[in-house]
Each structure stands twice: as structure tokens, then as C-alpha cells.
């Protein structure tokens, strides 16, 4: 990684060949217009020929579910990332006593399905906890009886497991010369980490982080299986109440599409904020 092959020219200055006018022109090619019209017709027929009268009764519930999905997503991504940094660091340059457990953690998390981890925590831990009186007596007990702490814990650990592997690669790919230069400047080790190593590693991992955030969004519906009422659970509830098969699911899919679009856009903004010399 640190050595660049000679044949590959490095684009030191990203040249934006696509300008706004060309992009609009490419959108307005004849076949694109026809496809857009077909898409609009499909959406219009879905709006007019399907039943949407249930929407007003469930407006509040949908808003609550949407909020809970986004809340779980943001909390688990942030907590998971905070956990992933030490995991990646331990694997990239830690002593074996830290690197081996970190590697094992990542392997186990990545090697088992999230649904199983979720059920292990919720049903497994949830069935163990009541056996200990001191847990029942503790102040945390009211929380431990609810489902969402297990959901947040499982999703956080899962994100940390996948992201720890990504951060390992990112930490390892920061050129050694950068760190040596910082050391030559007499920076303390933590300052090197804070100013040089971490920012460059995050920059390298950013495209993967965006992808992982979308994957995390796509895992949030699993929490509905342990009775957390997120967007997916609301849609299931509507389906049970109204006996409609397609309408709630289509709306749900559209909702997830929109959230995905927002995540991708946000990460693209963050990426554009970082001045980059890499092509």
C-alpha cells in the first residue's frame, strides 16, 4: 500500500469532468424519459388503485417507528464506531495480548448471523438475569426488563465487529512516514494518534463507513423480532390490523430507500469536506 507502482499516474488534483449541464442532458435521453414516465405511472397506479386510507390512523405510530429506527441507527453507529477504533488499533499495532482477543471478537461477530446474536442476548441474557437477586435489585433492572437495551447492545457489537476489521486495515494503511515525521516533531504518542493517525485512518475508511452505515440501517428491522417497535414493526402491525399485504411493505421499502439516500448523501458531504490528494 505504501509503495505506488510507477505506471499508475496519481491524480493529484481531482478533475471534475462532469458538469451540471451534461448531467441533466444525460438524464433527459429519450429512453430515460420513457423509463421515468413508466416509473411515474407505476407510482400513480400504486397511489390510486391501492388502499391508503389506513395512513391517517397510523400516522403517529409511523412517526414513532421512524424516529426509533433513526435513533437506534445513530446511537449504534456512533457507539459501534467508538468501540471499533480500539478494536482496529489493537489489531493493527497492539501487543498480542490485545490483538488476539480483538481478532477473536471480530471473527465471532462476523461469523454468526446478527439475528442469532440478538436472540442470544435478548432471550439468553434475558433469561439469565432474573436468576440473580442483585441484578433484580439494582437500579438498572427497569431498563434490563425492556427490549431496546438488548437491541442497542447487539447492533453496537455487530457494527463494532465489522468496523473493527475495517479500521484495522485503515490504521495499517496510513503511511509509516507520516507517523515517523510526527515522532520526529516530538509529538507525544496520544497527540500523534489524535492529530495524524486517526484522521488519516478515518479518511481512508470513510467510503467503507458509508457502506457499513447503510448495512446497519438494513439490519435495524431485525430488532422488531425482539418486540422493539421500529418502522418495520409498525408496518407488521398495520399488516396484521388491516389485512393488507403489499401497501405497508411498499411504503416501508420506500421509507428505507429514502433513509439510505440521506445516509449516502451525508457521507458524500463529509467526504467532500476533507481536502484530498489521493485520486
Amino acid at each position: 500500500m505504501s509503495e505506488t507502482p510507477i505506471e499508475v499516474p496519481i491524480e493529484t488534483f481531482p478533475i471534475h469532468k462532469e458538469t451540471g449541464g451534461i448531467r441533466i442532458a444525460s438524464l433527459l435521453q429519450p429512453h430515460r424519459i420513457v423509463m421515468m414516465l413508466i416509473g411515474l405511472a407505476l407510482i400513480a397506479s400504486a397511489v390510486f388503485f391501492m388502499r391508503w386510507d389506513w395512513l391517517q390512523n397510523y400516522g403517529d405510530l409511523i412517526a414513532q417507528g421512524l424516529w426509533r429506527t433513526i435513533w437506534i441507527l445513530i446511537v449504534t453507529v456512533i457507539l459501534g464506531f467508538l468501540l471499533a477504533v480500539p478494536l482496529g488499533l489493537a489489531q493493527a499495532s497492539g501487543p498480542a495480548i490485545l490483538a488476539v482477543p480483538a481478532k477473536m471478537f471480530c471473527t465471532v461477530i462476523r461469523g454468526t448471523p446478527l439475528l442469532l446474536q440478538l436472540w442470544l442476548l435478548y432471550y439468553g441474557l434475558g433469561s439469565l438475569f432474573p436468576q440473580y437477586p442483585w441484578i433484580r435489585g439494582s437500579e438498572l433492572w427497569p431498563y434490563l426488563r425492556q427490549a431496546w437495551p438488548y437491541a442497542v447492545l447487539a447492533l453496537t457489537l455487530s457494527y463494532a465487529g465489522y468496523e473493527g476489521e475495517v479500521m484495522r486495515g485503515a490504521f495499517a494503511s496510513v503511511p509509516k512516514g507520516q507517523l515517523e515525521a510526527a515522532r520526529a516533531f516530538g509529538m507525544p504518542r496520544f497527540t500523534i494518534f489524535r492529530r495524524i493517525w486517526l484522521p488519516q485512518a478515518i479518511h481512508r475508511a470513510l467510503p467503507t463507513l458509508a457502506g457499513e452505515a447503510v448495512l446497519q440501517l438494513k439490519s435495524t428491522p431485525l430488532v422488531a423480532t425482539i418486540t422493539v417497535v421500529d418502522l418495520y414493526a409498525v408496518a407488521s402491525r398495520v399488516r396484521q390490523d388491516t389485512f393488507l399485504t403489499y401497501e405497508p411493505l411498499l411504503l416501508l421499502a420506500a421509507g428505507y430507500l429514502v433513509i439510505t439516500g440521506i445516509i449516502v448523501m451525508l457521507f458524500r458531504r463529509v467526504e467532500r469536506m476533507i481536502p484530498s490528494k489521493l485520486g
Binding site: M1, S2, E3, Q29, H31, R32, M35, T107, V108, R110, G111, T112, P113, L114, L115, L116, Q117, W119, L120, Y123, G124, L125, G126, S127, L128, Q131, V214, L217, K218, S219, T220, P221, L222, T225, Y232, T245, Y246, L249, L250, L252, A253, Y256, L257, T260, G261
Partner: protein, 250 residues
Amino acid sequence: MADASILPAAISGMFGLLSPNPPGWGGNLLRGLFHSLQIALGSFGIGLIIGTLGAYGKLYGGPIVRDIAAIYTTMVRAIPELVLILLLYYAGTDLINRLFEALGYSRVDISGLVAGIVVLGFVQGAYATEVLRGAIKSIPQGEIEAARAYGMSPSLMMRRITLPAMLPHALPGLANLWLIATKDTSLLAVVGFAELTLETRQAAGATKAYFLFYMAAGALYLFITLFSNAIIGRVEIWARRGMPSVKEAH
């Protein structure tokens, strides 16, 4: 593990619960594992076929084919698998039954196994499309031009040049997809198909030994992953034979 720390005497009971014969639930878990592997293999295979078609469509197709492939991959990769599984499961069985009725046949019950394979294959196809497209693009394009200059037919070129040359580039992505396929089978538990995770839940619910059974199922999944990794490593060495080593120079 946790049970053993509570009661040492429970260890023999633990193995009793996991034994493959009827009083134990090990047989159910192994049957679930078998179903999971069946679904994973089937959906991975379907995903490869869709992925090859999609990659060719995206690279060499006309403008409409390219746009349709782009819509397919974007949608499938943005909507949660669980929602897709429900949508495709209901919509797919509904459509097939309507088709059968229109043709004058009676309604059929589509088995969970087939539906699961098809639906997960459809999801895998979107990811496989991207993996294979990237792999084909990373072949030195001169090789493909040379094949064309020799007058090879497209199918012969695909068989002799494109597929073998892209294999080493595609393998890491495909290996990842295979691991995702094995883990995504657990999602079918939510629609009630008795694969490993649902069998585990039933066993755990019946015996109240939640921790034991979920740990056992986790060990089985982990075993599949580690075993696959070992095989994939071998295949990768075989596919990269004669190529320069990719190990980074430190």
C-alpha cells in the same frame, strides 16, 4: 458455558440436551443446519447466474438494459433484506398462483425452501452483479480485445477468457458474498422457515436452555464460516496460480 458455571451437575444434562437422538435437540439443530446450507448454496448459485447476467448487462448492454440493471442493484442494496424477503415471498407466490389460475391449473403451495432460495438468490444477484462487474473491469482490456480480434464468439470468449481471467479478482468479493449468504439464511426464520436459527429458537423455547442452544447454533455458524474460509483460501491460491504475489511489501 454459563450453565456449567451455575451447576456442575448440569454438564451431563447439557450434553443430553444437545445429543442428536430424540430426547436431545441436536438432531433438530443439525437438520436446521442442513436446510441453511441448502438455502445458502442454492441462493449463492442463483446469485452467481443473475450476477453474471447483470454484470454483462451493465458493461456491454444497451442503455435500457444498463439502466434496468442499475435500478435493480440500487434498490436491492438499499432495502433491508427482511423487507425484500417479505415482499418477494408474498408477491412472488401470489403472482405464480395467479398465473397458474389464469392458465387453468389449481393453486400450488410453494415450499418455503424454494421460495427462500429464489428470494435470497435475487438479493445475492444484486451484490454479485457489482462484484463481477468490478472483476471484469479489472482484467487487462487488451486480453478481451485480442480475443475479439481472434474472432472468438462471445460465449467462447466468456468461457475461455473473461471468466477465468476475472476469477482471481472476483474471488474475495464472492467469498464475502458466500459468507453473507450463509448468514442471511437466518432471516428466513422470521418468515417461519425451519432453518438453523428457527430450530434453535424452538429448541431453546421448549427446554428453557436459551443460552446453551444459542451458543451451540453460534458455534455451528462459526464453524461454517471458518471452514469456508479455509476452502476459499485454497481456491484463491489455485485461481491466482502463475500470478505475482499480492502480499504487501512492508
